[in-house]
Symmetry: C2
């Protein structure tokens, strides 16, 4: 079992924190192996941000996500650049309002969930910043690799002190959306 996940967007959206949380949950609370990576190149100066997690039930030799099973796109630039990498039949979560130009010919081979994630986060917690944690919740339910309990613990480990309740609220809203999405109710 090897699963690759990609989080992408621009700086300040918390894609690194989201992927650190997923990696910790897998390793510390599920007993799996995980490698979490950020690769920065010249494109980082444009503000593009990308974080990867590879999860496996055995030690991980190759830590890059070459063909993600599951990917999150928080910006148009990220979507344009990385959507084509997602494995056929894989999951793509798209921040609908931040990705106005879509590629139906690529999306038809994927399970795409496009939602106004920032807006939903703001409605749920009053803070649009919690969008990354809400997305982790959504991803958890859709990808079915990690349990809600593991992810909740990893969120509590990682978020700044004083923001725990707010982030849990965002996370649980993500679980709820993920549950609906799986049932085809979104």
């Amino acid at each position: 079992m090897r699963r690759e996940m990609l989080f992408s967007g621009f700086g300040g959206q918390g894609v690194i924190l989201a992927s650190v949380i997923v990696g910790r949950a897998a390793a510390v609370y599920e007993g799996l192996y995980a490698v979490q990576t950020q690769a920065y190149g010249p494109e980082s100066r444009g503000g593009a941000s990308k974080a990867e997690v590879v999860i496996s039930d055995e030690p991980i030799d190759y830590p890059k996500a070459l063909s993600p099973d599951c990917a999150v796109f928080f910006s148009q630039e990220a979507y344009d650049k990385y959507l084509g990498l997602v494995k056929e039949g894989g999951i793509a979560i798209v921040e609908k309002d931040l990705v106005p130009h879509r590629r139906p010919e690529l999306e038809e081979k994927l399970r795409v969930y496009a939602l106004p994630l920032t807006e939903i986060a703001e409605e749920t917690t009053g803070l649009s910043l919690t969008m990354n944690i809400l997305t982790v919740g959504l991803l958890t339910k859709l990808s079915e690799i990690l349990t809600e309990e593991s992810i909740e613990k990893a969120v509590l480990d990682a978020v700044p002190r004083g923001t725990e309740q707010l982030n849990l609220k965002a996370l649980r809203k993500g679980f709820e959306l993920g549950e609906k999405a799986r049932k085809g109710e979104l």
Copy 2:
């Protein structure tokens, strides 16, 4: 030019944030390539924490730090486990109070700087938590890969809002210690 750095300790000491800052400074503010990695295995459940950064002037094929040029040890367990990996002639920064049992036979091949980093951070900012950022400052001066300006910008990008001044103070104390260490005044 390829440089490998390792940050190690236990959970909550901010080793991931420290290495994210170094990676961002290299890529976003110095125009280099950088890959920043956390690998988690069963040992993560013991609370061990390890983060790596590889910096290069060309794209990085192999993202792991197999033989760090520069390493930071914030716990005895981390020191016991990883000190032997550091390249001959490389730099080892040791949190003196948290690593009571040292290995002189390994240290003699390295440039070792052992300081009560937590205590110094607490004296400098009132918050022992800022120890990771102070260490980034120390490392910056000792490793001579990145400029003070780049690291300052990357710290400001990464630390929680409201803690910028505190963290800059810790960082600059680290620069000062690094400067003294280079002159053999520590």
